[in-house]
Amino acid sequence: MKYIDEFQDPELARRLLDDIHSTVTRPWALMEVCGGQTHTIIRHGIDQLLPEQVELIHGPGCPVCVTPLEVIDKALEIASRPEVIFCSFGDMLRVPGTGRDLFQVRSEGGDVRVVYSPLDALRIARQNPDREVVFFGIGFETTAPPNAMTVHQARRLGIPNFSLLVSHVRVPPAIEAIMSAPNCRVQAFLAAGHVCSVMGVGEYPELAERFRVPIVVTGFEPLDILEGVRRTVLQLERGEHTVDNAYARAVRPEGNPAAQAMLEDVFEVTDRAWRGIGVIPDSGWRLSPKYRDHDAEYRFSVDGIQTREPAECRSGEVLQGMLKPHECEAFGTVCTPRTPLGATMVSSEGACAAYYLYRRLDITTAAREASPVV
C-alpha cells in the first residue's frame, strides 16, 4: 500500500481497502464514468491498491475528449474570422482539430479569449456590440445548465451578438451504449457525482434494472472513490443491481430542479457524435428552435468541413474502456502532451494525460526494459 499515506484520512482509507479486500471473491470490472475520477484513481494509485480481481475501466466522461473533431474544426473556422471574438474554457486551447488548435488560431491573429464562466463571454458581447461573440459550449450535465442560463440571459437582456457553438453530451445514453456493445466487459458503474448533483439519480434505476448493473453515484476525492468501489463490489458479490448514492453530501435524489427546468427550456435532446466513438442516439443537447438566433451553427456557415483524424490515435477505444492508454503504440512516443494525437492526451481529465502525468517513471522504465540497447 505504497501510496496510502498520501490519503486525507489514511486510517479510513485502510479500513475501506480492508473491507474491499475481504469482500471480493471473484473478478469484477467497474467503469468510472468521469474523467475527474480517472485522474484521482491514477494520481493516488487507487487501481494498484485494490485487490487484483477488481479492475477499474476508464469511461468516456471527459467532455473535452469526446467533443467531435468536426465541432473542433467548426470552432477553429469560426474563431479565425475577423469579426469574431471566440470565447472558450482553457481546456479547449490545445485540443487538436484537423491540423491545428485554438492556441495556433490565436497566434495567427484570431481573437480567442479564455473565460472562467460563460457569463464572462456574455459580458464581452455586451462590451463589444460591433463584434460577434461566440462561446464554445461543450460539456456534460454539469456544464450545460450554466451555458443554458447564459443563452437565456442573452435573450432576456437583448444581446444579439452572442451565440453558442453547442456540443453538449449526456451520460445515461453513453452508459446505455457501453452496455449494449457486444464486447462489453463492464459489470458496474461509478456514476459521476457532479452530473448527479444537477440531474439527480432518476435516470439510473431503469438502466440498472435493464442491464442488471449496479450504479453507484461517486464523488471525486480518493476516499469517495474507495467508498464507491466498496459499495459497488458489495452489490456485485451479493448479485444485486441497484442505484446507490455514495456522494450524498453533494447529490440529492432530485438533483437541482431549477437547472433541469432551464435545460428543458433552452435545449432539446438530439443524437450526438462522440469523438472516437461515433454517434450515440439521444446522447446530446442542441439549442431548441426558439433560441436558434443564438446558435452559432445557424449564424455562421460552417458546413462542409473536411475532418481528418490521425489514423494511429486509438483514443476512441480508450474512451470506451477497450484499451488502457499505455497499451496504445503511439502512447508516450509519437503521442505526448506536447505532440498530442487526440484530446485524451491534452485534456486535464483525459485518461491518456493521466497515465502520462502520473506514470511517467513507469513509462520510462518500461521503455528501457523493452529496449536491449539502453
Partner: protein, 106 residues
Amino acid sequence: MCLAVPGRVLDIEERDGTRMATVDFGGVVKEVCLEYLPDLQVGEYAIVHVGFALQRLDEESAKQTLELFAQLGMLQEEFGDPWEQAAEAGGATPPVGDAVIEEVRK
C-alpha cells in the same frame, strides 16, 4: 473544466435581474451566479462549476475538499492562467496580455 469546486458565499447582490454572489474558493474570489440555488445565503457553502452554484454543501465537507484540492494543486489548475498552462504543456510561449483573464481575475 469538469471540476466543480466548493466555495463560501461572501456577499450577494442583484445585477440585471440576476442573483449574483462573490464566492471565496480557498483564497481565490470569483463572481458566481446563484440562479440555480436562489435561497443560498451569505456564509453558506456550495459546489460551484464554471461560475454557477449547483448544489449546497456542508461547511466541513467543503473545507476538507478545498484543503485537498489545494494540496493536489487542483485549485491552481482551475484558477491559474490557462494560456500559460496550455503553453507550458505544448512547449510554446504564452500570448501576453490577455485582457479578459485579467479582467475576470479582478
